[in-house]
Amino acid sequence: MIETRIGDFEEVVMLILGILPKGETYAFRIAKEFSQQTGREVSIGAIHSTLDRLDKKGFVTSELVNSNGSRGDRQKRIFTVTALGKRVLKEALDFKVGLWKQHPSFAAKFNFG
């Protein structure tokens, strides 16, 4: 949504980025977490391209780190949410909550605090 500056999918990816432990926020791990959280399969490429877009907008940053696994040395690109990214997430939440509150059939039943 233009108003919130991020789309739903981007929002979810950024949230997952925050949930995952430090050092595990690379494309494969995020894709796996996404599938576990949503129950929907997503390709690593889809996650990677979203992260790339968020990077261009300045909502996340990334750095290459070395690590080793069962197949020897490898490189991971670890993504982190920037301060701007956090603000955008908050804005997106506030915007939606604001709308919810105005909704006559829901506003009375839920307490959004």
């Binding site: 494309a27 494969f28 690593i44 490429g45 990677h48 391209s49 290459l64 197949r71 490189q75």
Partner: protein, 870 residues
């Protein structure tokens, strides 16, 4: 890197690296590998591979794709324009596009399937790494006055060669004939194919061992089993070290397991390999009276690198001759080494020399493949040129507004290459979908080599080549036409194009006629052999192979019980069923025999009821009978034998067999127990006081076959509870003799019909252009009073002439090839003129029906419509 871990599909990784930005390569590869490992741990390798592909394909996104060096903007635009015009042209002329793509893709699919078939045939036995050095010792010998080739040899031969000629061979090994044995593991009893081999066998043929090694046959009681037999006997347990028994008299221990032999291997279907020593001792072959006499074994050799087969053959030529007795020496046995590369494709011998074999089918299908492809290309070219004439105006306008000739050439090539690439992809799909069905018919296990880079390179190179070939005429000829003349509307294609088109259509018809004749003759030959009198009544006759210890009394009891149960009306025992001849002998002598003549007659040990059960035809004399106790020294011979020994009235004559005098009491009609296309060999039937292993019974015709067999099974089980009850209908066994030829017949029918289909598509397309071109002429003629029939005749005339020329070319060629093919059969059908006339007629009819659609339509159009424009 840990090498133990399975690697993801190489092709996928290659593809990924092809498009992925370099700076992303290492991280993405790592991520995908991690995903792959996780899938591997969670599911099967296949699923992991599929998932890997999925991931790779999903990386094909704008952000990750390498910036390809962009072509100059102008030519990029030109290609865009080429694509657009090509697509528009295709859409505008849907019939034309459809014909082009269908014809070409069917042609390519046929060529690909034939290619796979040829590949499979030519790679026969190539799984053995010493393929180039392996040979089999065989012999030629004179029997009944003709020089024959036998693969079987006597057992002392290997010892002889080892001690005297060891320097000529790196290795030599003997095996028994392929045979069916009763394999038993407790209550689990199975009939399985197996051989017994000397340990050296494993040094010649490298078996695909799962466990075990080259030393695994050294021990007398060791046995190697195929993976499928191991699974049948021991489910999923480790089979090595387990024991089972063979024929309930040899106890063996599994010392190794091998991957089943490939279907295109000489040893396909061999489920176990036992140690030679075991059967040698059990059968006490050591004590054989004349061990050089029986030919029962196969001998394989491994040549030293660089030694020629020819040279070694000459050295060992007379080894057998020097050792056999006087009678057998008359046969002049000569040994030679048959190279492995020729076992499968050159397996037929005539007069002691190689005389083709399957290789002729390899040539035949190869030729058909080339023909079909040629026809598809001809179509494509014909239609492209025909259509390009219609596009003369387009070219004129393009040139007038400044198009270069080079650009026009590229435009035409681009169009035809695009069409052929698209057709190639459809062809690939057709092949993939029809392959299981085709495998069934051809009795093969073929698959597309998806992972073979060479295949893909060939595939694309070929489709581009076809595209360029087909596009060459319009590209060069049409682009050179003079602008002014087309714009004025006076352009007409040169007569060169016209003649070449006619030549191409003639070639197509000629090939079609050739194929129709060929297929018809193949079928006639098969039918001819099938209609041949069998010499007995096979209806409801079944044969069983029972390895149980049957004495005379016991067999009588079995027979009585069977007949009492009502399921059979007759039963007999014999050494061979009616469709085969398992044994033969050379020890025959009779009055008036040329002392230098060496013979080999089939022999069959039978019980008294044999003739009655199979219902043979007695031509002279009488059948065996229990009323004559002297019949134990009597024989019945077949007509071929009566003719061969040349006695006026053979009944009552004495024939000596290994010096035992036997009286001929009857002559029976020939029973086809060998190759149904060849002459029946001389055959001797004699009584045998025992049980030779084959039981023949005629089912009660008043019962259903299943009912009768169930009844039989109950009785047989009573006498021998353990052995699996297996049987075969004699009818089925007889039909199997035609299997090879029928397969060839069916395949060539399919290919011939597809070839005809392709050529029909071609003339269908051509006739539509012709009808369109001549629409004005037709209109004028109609106004002047021509009838629809006259117009139809006018338009068909040209094509009919072409068909006639085609037939004149095709029929002599067909006659030449087919009479040569039929020569290989002694019992053959005649090439009668009406087959050729019929095929020519069929071609003509097919052609007329195909073109009538458009011609009649064109002839029926109201002339006012065709003449109104302009």
């Amino acid at each position: 890197m840990n090498d133990k871990l399975p690697q993801p599909p190489r092709l996928a990784t290659w593809f990924l690296h092809l498009f992925l930005k370099n700076e992303l390569r290492s991280e993405v590869t790592a991520d995908l590998l991690e995903q792959y490992d996780e899938k591997l741990a969670g599911t099967s390798r296949f699923r992991a591979n599929v998932n890997y592909w999925y991931q790779v394909v999903h990386y094909f996104r704008p952000f990750s794709i390498k910036a390809f060096r962009a072509p100059t903007t102008q030519s990029a635009m030109m290609y865009k324009s080429y694509t657009k015009t090509s697509l528009r042209g295709m859409m505008k002329n849907k019939l034309h596009t459809f014909i082009n793509i269908t014809g070409l893709s069917v042609g390519m699919a046929v060529a690909m399937i034939i290619g796979l078939w040829l590949w499979d045939e030519l790679s026969f036995d190539k799984q053995f790494s010493r393929y180039d050095r392996i040979g089999q010792i065989k012999q030629t010998l004179i029997n009944n006055g003709e020089l024959q080739m036998w693969s079987n040899l006597p057992w002392p031969l290997t010892g002889e060669i080892r001690s005297n000629y060891s320097s000529d061979f790196e290795e030599i090994a003997m095996t028994t004939n392929y045979n069916v044995w009763l394999v038993a593991m407790g209550e689990n009893k199975l009939y399985e194919n197996g051989i017994f081999a000397e340990p050296q066998f494993l040094n010649i043929f490298d078996l695909p061992f799962i466990s075990g090694n080259e030393q695994s046959l050294n021990d007398m009681s060791s046995v190697l089993v195929s993976k499928s037999l191991a699974e049948k006997l021991f489910k999923y347990e480790d089979a090595v070290g387990k024991t089972f028994s063979i024929d309930e008299r040899m106890d063996v221990t599994i010392s190794g397991v091998y991957e089943d032999f490939a279907k295109n291997s000489t040893f396909a279907g061999i489920q176990f390999i036992g140690a030679w020593e075991m059967i040698y001792r059990k059968n006490e072959w050591k004590n054989m009276t004349d061990p050089w006499r029986p030919n029962m074994f196969f001998v394989y050799t491994l040549m030293h690198p660089g030694t020629s087969y020819q040279h070694a053959s000459e050295k060992i030529r007379d080894v057998k001759l020097r050792n056999v007795n006087e009678t057998l020496a008359k046969k002049k046995p000569a040994l030679f080494i048959h190279p492995m590369s020729r076992w499968h494709l050159h397996d037929e011998f005539k007069e002691g020399k190689e005389a083709g074999g399957r290789i002729q089918y390899v040539w035949m299908f190869g030729t058909i493949g080339v023909f079909v492809m040629l026809m598809a290309c001809i179509n494509f070219m014909n239609l492209s040129t025909a259509r390009s004439e219609k596009r003369a105006k387009e070219i004129g306008v393009r040139k007038a507004i400044g198009s270069l000739r080079r650009q026009l050439i590229v435009q035409f090539f681009f169009e035809s290459v695009m069409t052929s690439l698209f057709s190639a992809l459809i062809a690939l799909l057709i092949v993939q979908l029809s392959l299981p069905w085709f495998n069934e018919i051809a009795s093969k296990q073929m698959s597309l080599p998806w992972m073979n880079i060479k295949f893909w390179i060939g595939f694309f190179a070929f489709s581009v080549f076809v595209g360029i070939l087909a596009g060459s005429y319009p590209a060069f000829y049409m682009s050179a036409i003079r602008t002014i003349s087309v714009i004025k509307g006076v352009f007409k294609a040169g007569s060169g194009a016209f003649i070449s088109r006619k030549v191409m259509v003639t070639v197509q018809f000629a090939i079609s006629t050739l194929m129709i004749v060929g297929t018809a003759i193949v079928y006639m030959q098969i039918q001819h052999a099938k209609d041949r009198p069998m010499g007995y009544n096979s209806k409801g006759l079944i044969s069983m192979w029972l390895p149980f210890n049957g004495t005379r009394e016991r067999m009588d009891a079995v027979r009585n019980e069977l007949i009492n149960s009502g399921s059979v009306i007759g039963m007999a025992e014999a050494g061979s069923t009616t469709t085969v001849a398992y044994s033969s002998s050379s020890g025959f002598d009779w009055k008036g025999k040329d002392p230098n003549l060496s013979v080999d007659f089939n022999t069959n040990a039978v019980s008294h009821d044999y003739g009655k059960t199979i219902n043979w035809t007695i031509m002279h004399g009488r059948d065996f009978s229990t009323d004559f106790p002297s019949d134990t020294s009597a024989i019945i011979i077949n007509e071929a034998m009566a003719r061969f020994i040349g006695l006026e009235n053979p009944v009552g004559e004495i024939i000596r067999w290994h010096d035992h005098p036997l009286t001929v009491i009857g002559v029976v009609a020939n029973i086809v127990n060998g190759n149904p296309y060849q002459e029946v060999r001389p055959n001797v039937y004699h009584l045998f006081e025992g049980y030779e292993g084959v039981l023949i019974a005629r089912l009660n015709p008043e019962m259903s076959a299943t009912q009768a067999i169930a009844g039989m099974e109950k009785v047989v089980k009573k006498f021998d509870a353990g052995a699996p009850f297996t049987f075969q209908f004699v009818d089925d066994a007889y039909q199997e003799k035609f299997g090879n030829e029928e397969r060839i017949g069916r395949l060539s029918t399919i290919f011939a019909s597809l070839a005809i289909f392709i050529s029909c598509l071609g003339i269908f397309g051509l006739s539509s252009f012709m009808a369109e071109q001549k629409s004005k002429e037709i209109g004028v003629r109609k106004i002047l009073g021509a009838s629809v029939f006259q117009l139809w005749k006018l338009m068909c005339k040209d094509f009919v002439l072409l068909v006639m020329i085609a037939c004149v070319i095709a029929i002599p060629v067909a006659y030449l090839f087919l009479s040569q093919w039929l020569e290989s059969f002694v019992y053959r059908t005649t090439l009668s003129w009406w087959v050729f006339a019929g095929s020519a007629g069929a071609t003509l009819l097919i052609m007329l029906v195909t073109i009538s659609w458009h011609t009649i339509q064109a002839a029926r159009v109201n002339p006012s419509q065709s003449l109104r424009s302009e």
